[in-house]
C-alpha cells in the first residue's frame, strides 16, 4: 500500500478505535457504579461536536502559542502512529513523544491563562517524576531483548515467547503508566483531576478542543498498541482490538472502584511501583 494512504488509514483507525475505547471505558465505569451510562460512541460524538461549536479565544491566552500547542499535540501523536503501526520503528522515538506530550500538557495549561489550566500545568511538571517507570521500562526491555526496534522486539517474542511472562514487572510499570493516562476518573491522572474541571484543556474551546480530543484518542490507542506490541508480540488487527478492549475494561474497573488520589499520593504511588518494578525486573533478568 502507498505510504501516505497507509499513514492516513492508521491515523483514522487510531482515532476511531481510541474514541470508541474511551466511550467503552465510560460505559463500563457507569455500569459498575449502577448507572445506565452514555452510549459507547459518546466520546466520539463529543469530539465531533466541538468542530461545529464556536472557537472562542480567551483574552488572557498567550497567542499564538495557545493555538500552536494543539497543532503540536496532534502532530506528535500522528508521528507516534507513523513510528508505531506504520513503520514499526524505534521505541526511543515513541518514548520521546511521551516526553513531548508531558511538555504539551504543561504548555497547554499555562498558555490559556486560566487558573485551572495553570494548576494542571504545575501538576504536569510535578507528575513528570512519575515518568521514571517509562524510561526504566525502556532499559529493562533493552536488557532483555538487546534491541529498541519494534520489529526486532516482535521477532524476539516470536522465538522466545511474550515479554509479558519474562519481564512481568516491566509490564506492570507500563500498565500503571496507561492507568495514569486514562481519560475518565483515573486515580493517577492528576493533570485531569475533576477538581481542575478539565485540567489543561479547560480553556480550549471549539475546534481547538476537538483537535485536543482527537489527539487524546490517538494517544490512548497508541499506548495500548505499544503495550500489546512490546509485551505480547505481533498480533492480528482483531487480536489488537481484543487486547485493547481487555486492557480498557481492566483500567475501567480500577477507575470505577478507586478514588482520585491527590497529587502527592499519585506521584508517590507511581514512584514506589517504579522502584519495585525496576529492582524486581533487574533481579529477575540477572538471577532467574
Amino acid at each position: 500500500m502507498n505510504l501516505m494512504a497507509n499513514i492516513l488509514l492508521n491515523v483514522l483507525v487510531a482515532f476511531l478505535v481510541g474514541s470508541v475505547l474511551f466511550g467503552l471505558q465510560r460505559k463500563i465505569i457507569a455500569r459498575i457504579q449502577m448507572r445506565p451510562g452514555p452510549p459507547i460512541i459518546q466520546h466520539l460524538l463529543h469530539t465531533l461536536k466541538f468542530f461545529i461549536k464556536e472557537t472562542v479565544i480567551p483574552k488572557t491566552a498567550a497567542m499564538p502559542f495557545y493555538i500552536a500547542i494543539t497543532v503540536i499535540l496532534c502532530s506528535i501523536w500522528v508521528a507516534a502512529v507513523i513510528v508505531g503501526p506504520v513503520s514499526e520503528g524505534s521505541l526511543l522515538i515513541l518514548f520521546a513523544i511521551f516526553a513531548i506530550h508531558k511538555i504539551v500538557e504543561h504548555n497547554a495549561g499555562s498558555s490559556s491563562g486560566s487558573p485551572y489550566g495553570k494548576l494542571s500545568c504545575v501538576r504536569a511538571v510535578f507528575s513528570a517524576a512519575a515518568e521514571v517507570p517509562l524510561f526504566a521500562v525502556l532499559l529493562i526491555i533493552y536488557l532483555q531483548t538487546g534491541t529498541m526496534n519494534l520489529a526486532d522486539i516482535i521477532a524476539y517474542q516470536g522465538t522466545n515467547g511474550a515479554l509479558l511472562f519474562s519481564i512481568p514487572l516491566a509490564a506492570m510499570m507500563f500498565f500503571v503508566l496507561i492507568l495514569s493516562k486514562a481519560y475518565y476518573y483515573s486515580p493517577l491522572n492528576i493533570t485531569m483531576g475533576k477538581d481542575l474541571v478539565s485540567g489543561f484543556e479547560t480553556e480550549h474551546f471549539g475546534m481547538l478542543r476537538g483537535f485536543i480530543m482527537i489527539s487524546e484518542s490517538i494517544a490512548w490507542y497508541m499506548l495500548l498498541w505499544i503495550f500489546l506490541t512490546v509485551f505480547v508480540g505481533g498480533l492480528t488487527p482483531i487480536g489488537y482490538l481484543a487486547g485493547m478492549i481487555i486492557i480498557t475494561a481492566l483500567v475501567s474497573l480500577i477507575d470505577a472502584v478507586t478514588p482520585i488520589l491527590n497529587p502527592n499520593h499519585s506521584v508517590m504511588t507511581q514512584v514506589t511501583l517504579a522502584f519495585v518494578g525496576i529492582v524486581g525486573s533487574v533481579l529477575m533478568i540477572f538471577y532467574l
Binding site: M1, N6, L9, N10, L12, V13, L16, V17, V20, P36, G37, P38, P39, I40, I41, L44, L45, T236, P237, I238, L241
Partner: protein
C-alpha cells in the same frame, strides 16, 4: 482486500450503526429505560447481526466474508448503540443464539 482496510470497514460499520441506532431509538422511545420490555424489531436485528458476524462462513460462497461481517457488525451496533438501557437483553439473546449455532456447526459436527 488489505486486512487494514477491512478492519477500518468494521470500525466504521460499528460507528455508523451505533449512530443510526441511537437516532432511531430516541425517535421510538421518548421515556428512559424503565419498563424492560423486549423490543421485537431490535431482537430481530440483533439475531441477524450476531448470526451473520459469528457464522459468516455459512454464506461465504455467496458473499465475501468481510461484507457479511460488516453488515453483521452494523446490525449489532444498531442494537448496542440504542438509547442507554435499551437493547441489552436483545444483544445477549442474539449473541447466545449465534453462539449456539456456532457450537452446533463447528464443535458438535
Amino acid at each position: 482486500m488489505d486486512i487494514q482496510i477491512i478492519y477500518l470497514l468494521y470500525v466504521l460499520a460499528f460507528i455508523i450503526g451505533s449512530i443510526t441506532g441511537l437516532v432511531l431509538s430516541y425517535k421510538k422511545y421518548t421515556e428512559p429505560f424503565v419498563r424492560k420490555n423486549i423490543d421485537l424489531a431490535a431482537l430481530i436485528l440483533a439475531l441477524i447481526g450476531w448470526i451473520l458476524t459469528i457464522n459468516y462462513s455459512l454464506i461465504e460462497t455467496l458473499i465475501p466474508y468481510y461484507a457479511t461481517i460488516t453488515i453483521g457488525i452494523f446490525l449489532i451496533a444498531m442494537v448496542i448503540g440504542m438509547r442507554p438501557g435499551y437493547g441489552r437483553f436483545e444483544t445477549v439473546i442474539g449473541f447466545a443464539v449465534a453462539g449456539i449455532i456456532w457450537i452446533i456447526r463447528t464443535v458438535l459436527t
